[in-house]
């Protein structure tokens, strides 16, 4: 993917990103993300799908520039032709690119009313105070909070989990961003609430031509909201394909295993999962858990192969 000439205008490009966290002293963890290339076009809805520990959230935090201090980052992150990895230029973070954080329960400041936290964002943009309330009210109505004034006056602990999540959505959308990064918006929700959140997101995104980077473990949510899916396994991308091809034509053994393991397919448990034998950094990252591996998988790192326009796989077995 790296050598392809980019023709469409890329909103966000991540080039060869590697992130390592420091354990202690000079002891570095296995890279949370390694050698990652991803691009999001203007208006594109991209889903990054993987299990916990695959490094999905690390990508989101790297783009936002909010990785913890003891982290080693290599590679480039380019937003509209401008590098934002080493230094985030003014007016991009939180304005052009926003993050809808994963943990709704703890992502609002417990000692400030929700209204104050929203108004602080407006203050950053220089919205004059008389206009603020009106703007907030209409924003909260857009995220389907029925009593905006009560919500604005509430402290976070007075709001339910779902309401907090909607306030966070409102915070994200308030400043009309070009790119929204939504980190696990459906995690831990029961079906009724999950569907509510997904439909709300779909509606909101349909109103404006904004780009979305959905980070999720929930393949169905990805199918529901996005056009393109990238599959991530232990810090690396293994497959990229249009959503329309996902169920029938996905080819990477990991994608197939994940699809089969979902309850809708009768929970076919894989042969083996997640004991993570190291390949010494040489072979395919999935070789230890792969049911179809051949000797070359353990020795050589597979390269990207385009098996259909827009459908790329990184696997020795899929030819």
């Amino acid at each position: 993917m790296g050598n392809r000439k980019v023709i469409a205008i890329m909103l966000l490009e991540i080039r060869n990103l590697t992130v390592r966290y420091r354990r202690s002293g000079d002891d570095w963890d296995r890279p949370a993300v390694s050698g990652l290339w991803v691009a999001v076009e203007q208006g594109e809805k991209l889903a990054v799908v993987g299990e916990s520990g695959a490094g999905k959230t690390t990508i989101a935090h790297a783009v936002m520039g909010i990785l913890p201090p003891m982290t080693r980052v290599e590679g480039e992150i380019v937003y509209r032709g401008q590098r934002i990895d080493s230094r985030m230029p003014e007016g991009i973070r939180g304005k052009e690119i926003v993050l809808i954080p994963q943990n709704a329960y703890n992502s609002l400041n417990p000692v400030l009313p929700a209204g104050t936290q929203l108004e602080d964002l407006q203050a950053e943009d220089g919205v004059p105070s008389p206009l603020r309330r009106q703007q907030l009210r209409s924003m909260l109505q857009r995220v389907r909070l029925t009593d905006p004034d009560a919500v604005l006056a509430s402290f976070p602990h007075q709001l339910s989990g779902g309401m907090k999540q909607r306030v966070l959505l409102a915070m994200g959308l308030l400043r009309e961003p070009r790119l929204i990064i939504a980190d696990e918006p459906t995690k831990g929700l029961d079906p009724v609430r999950r569907l509510g959140v997904l439909e709300l997101l779909k509606d909101l995104l349909a109103q404006k031509q904004q780009s979305l980077m959905l980070i999720t473990h929930d393949i169905r949510a990805a199918v529901f909201l996005c056009d393109t899916v990238v599959m991530m396994y232990r810090g690396e991308l293994v497959e990229k394909l249009p959503v329309s091809r996902l169920y029938e034509y996905s080819s990477h053994p990991y994608t197939i295993a994940l699809l089969n393991a979902s309850p809708q397919r009768g929970l076919q448990a894989g042969q083996n999962a997640g004991n993570g034998i190291s390949t010494g950094g040489r072979g395919c990252s999935y070789v230890a858990c792969c049911s179809q591996s051949v000797p070359v998988c353990g020795q050589e790192r597979p390269v990207w192969r385009e098996i259909y326009p827009g459908h790329l796989v990184r696997c020795h077995v899929v030819a």
Partner: protein, 313 residues
């Protein structure tokens, strides 16, 4: 909020009742017969049997303990703490004449410790891992570990005897206040800085701070508006509890600097075995402490909306 205040006040009243009982029982720790002790103080050494017996009768020391306690409490409610064994003065008036000096000292050192400890804690947390952080942490730890009575002498030697900047002791002017306040504030400031640093570091890792950063808020706004108020919550509680340490510290420090406060009164009375006065000092300082802690809890409730609205904790 109203029910919260009512609840705290009730709890304070219960503590006060318990404190009065324990203070009353203190006198029974005195080795020997309390009647003999009172008689000795009243009639001089070499008292005879009938004198002790008379004291026992007049003071009601032959009655059951519960009756004695009730009598003591009923006097207490009329603000009567008995009389000094030494100079027969009412204990209450002795204490009242000394209390302002101690409160002045306690307040000024509390203020001083916050003025030093809060900025030090914030700077150390923000500059975590740098040389400045290490230096501040060592100073804070030294402040916690230094014995006040020793620091007093060091300061006297340096600032009063060598540099002749401040008076050796005494009461009345601002210059008299400086050294005892600094000594008392040292431990408190170190504690505040250490607690605030740890608590701020913890808060800075929270999701809501990360979210605020991702929202593009400026660093100073995040620190002062979003992080500090959360970080102060645990610190406020501990400071409230540790003001007791400050009050205790006054006992030794006041004696060293000749500061005419409650602490000096208490220590002098311990040396002269004037137990009603000791008892009164303990009771009054405990009452001050309870009052103060109730205030701290109300401040805490004001800082933390989760408590104000009667949910959580």
């Amino acid at each position: 909020m109203g029910s919260y205040i009512a609840r705290r006040t009730l709890a304070a009243a219960i503590s006060l009742a318990g404190v009065s009982l324990m203070t009353f029982l203190l006198v029974f720790l005195v080795p020997g017969d309390p009647a003999e002790m009172v008689a000795q103080a009243r009639f001089g050494h070499g008292v005879v049997e009938w004198e002790i017996e008379m004291v026992r009768r007049t003071e009601g020391l032959d009655r059951p303990l519960a009756v004695q306690y009730l009598k003591w409490v009923s006097h207490l409610l009329q603000l009567d703490l008995g009389h000094s064994l030494i100079n027969r003065q009412p204990v209450m008036s002795l204490i009242c004449s000394r209390l302002p000096a101690t409160l002045l000292l306690a307040c000024s050192s509390l203020l001083l410790s916050l003025l030093a400890g809060v900025p030090a804690g914030v700077i150390a947390a923000v500059k975590k891992g740098t040389r400045l952080d290490s230096v501040l942490r060592i100073i804070a730890l030294a402040g916690v570990s230094v014995p006040g009575f020793w620091l007093s002498y060091l300061l006297i030697i340096v600032f009063a005897l060598k540099l002749k900047l401040l008076p050796v002791g005494g009461y009345g002017t601002l210059a008299n206040l400086v050294m005892p306040s600094v000594v008392l504030a040292a431990g408190m400031a170190g504690l505040t800085a250490r607690l605030l640093r740890a608590s701020l570091l913890e808060v800075l890792q929270q999701d809501y701070i990360r979210a605020a950063v991702a929202n593009g808020l400026s660093n100073s706004k995040i620190l002062w508006k979003y992080a500090l108020k959360n970080a102060l919550l645990p610190v406020v509680t501990v400071i409230g509890l540790r003001v007791g340490m400050l009050l205790s510290g006054t006992v030794i420090i006041e004696s060293i600097y000749g500061w005419p406060g409650l602490g000096k009164l208490m220590l002098d009375s311990i040396y002269t075995r004037d137990f009603p006065v000791v008892q009164g000092c303990v009771l009054v300082s405990a009452a001050c402490f309870i009052l103060l802690n109730t205030c701290v809890e109300l401040i805490y409730a004001w800082l933390d909306p989760r408590i104000r609205w009667g949910t959580g904790r």
